[in-house]
Symmetry: C2
Amino acid sequence: MTDPIAHTDAGPAAPTRRELNKAATRQAITDAALGLLRSKGPGNFTVEDIADTAGISRRTFFNYFSSTDAALASIVHGFLDNAIKQLRLRPVDEPMLESAQAALMALADPRAVAPLAELFTLTQQSPLMSHTELEAWDHCRAQVFTVARERLAGTPGAQDELYIHALAGSIISCGKAAMEVWFSRRGPDLTPASLAELRQLLIDAMALLATGFNTPAPPSATRSS
Amino acid sequence: MTDPIAHTDAGPAAPTRRELNKAATRQAITDAALGLLRSKGPGNFTVEDIADTAGISRRTFFNYFSSTDAALASIVHGFLDNAIKQLRLRPVDEPMLESAQAALMALADPRAVAPLAELFTLTQQSPLMSHTELEAWDHCRAQVFTVARERLAGTPGAQDELYIHALAGSIISCGKAAMEVWFSRRGPDLTPASLAELRQLLIDAMALLATGFNTPAPPSATRSS
DNA sequence: TGCAAACTTGCACATAGTGTAAGAGTGTGA
DNA sequence: TCACACTCTTACACTATGTGCAAGTTTGCA
């Protein structure tokens, strides 16, 4: 904010020292949390454990995250924020579903999905998706909603709130559905073939939204199986 | 609440004393929680407050609910469990979306929505939907998924996991969308006209899922506005 | 260099959530 | 009607969570 040095958005990194430190601490925390999740299993470690492993105080942990759950869900947040970023890069006159599909394609990438896949496999044995994880998806839904509203603001009589809400929610649900199916089929498999299947699932899911669920027979299943 | 004289319970339930007591306690807790939410606002009361108001011990509270949030979300749970019950009453050969729509129609009823509407208006000022509330919707989604899978198990080559996951998730999302739009338009208005609008929104939302979101123009908005 | 802002940390404290064992209420068969 | 088993409630103790606060440390900047 009080930064005379220009904000190099597209540039490499945030130059100031403070930001680097904060990012490093944040990373140390999530690394520690993920490590403990690996070694001890979900629910078997405390905030203090994470803080000790990350080399910070318990209090500092809470300066970054509001709970262990939130620290782990930051992985999901990172993934989804990236998705939103991709979505916003799409031309504004492109149909929403095509934009969504394109944004998701960009994320069916080993580097992006790897942390998510590990988190998923590590917490899958746990009853169901953690509260904070659900919240992360809902946060993403809200952002998709915003994007959709911005786009449709141009069209004439279309201040159709229901359409936008339903669209945003359904995009998220279908994205989630594709991921769930993929994980349940492939587990932590990140081979090109597996990622190709993920991409196909995402395409199929978006296609379902485009054409509707009333297609008499489910559209001859996915070619990917 | 330890009242030996039971009152008229209409219905085929097994009215053993223990079950009645438990149900009464449970009700006392949610009533107390809702009352405190009304009087003090979200986040401004503790489990102990609820327990005191309900006339039970703090420990007993935790025998029923795992958090204040969960106690309040039981309202949402009740509503959605009811929806699932309605859904299961539909003939198994009916298309899912029609069943969903019919089940939702049955719940656009003052008695069913009133608690939900109040909870919504009381927590709306709060940042966003509570964790446990999201969990309640997700639980409902899982049940819709189960129903859909049971139904489509009969059809020949349709073990299409993606279709079922996407359908269940989208139904929930669109139901939520309709409710959100309704609440934002009408607030806690439960007049017949308002409920008719809710019904129309639910119908429109399900229609979107049936025909797809690619309808060139949003389908001439809702007739209800 | 020195000041101001931002960040970290230790401490105190209220609250959340759980295990345990004793007590009170409830169902059941003799 | 009583006695016994079962279930639910409660008090207590204890660990963990989350936050306010003030003092200490690091970073930015003139």
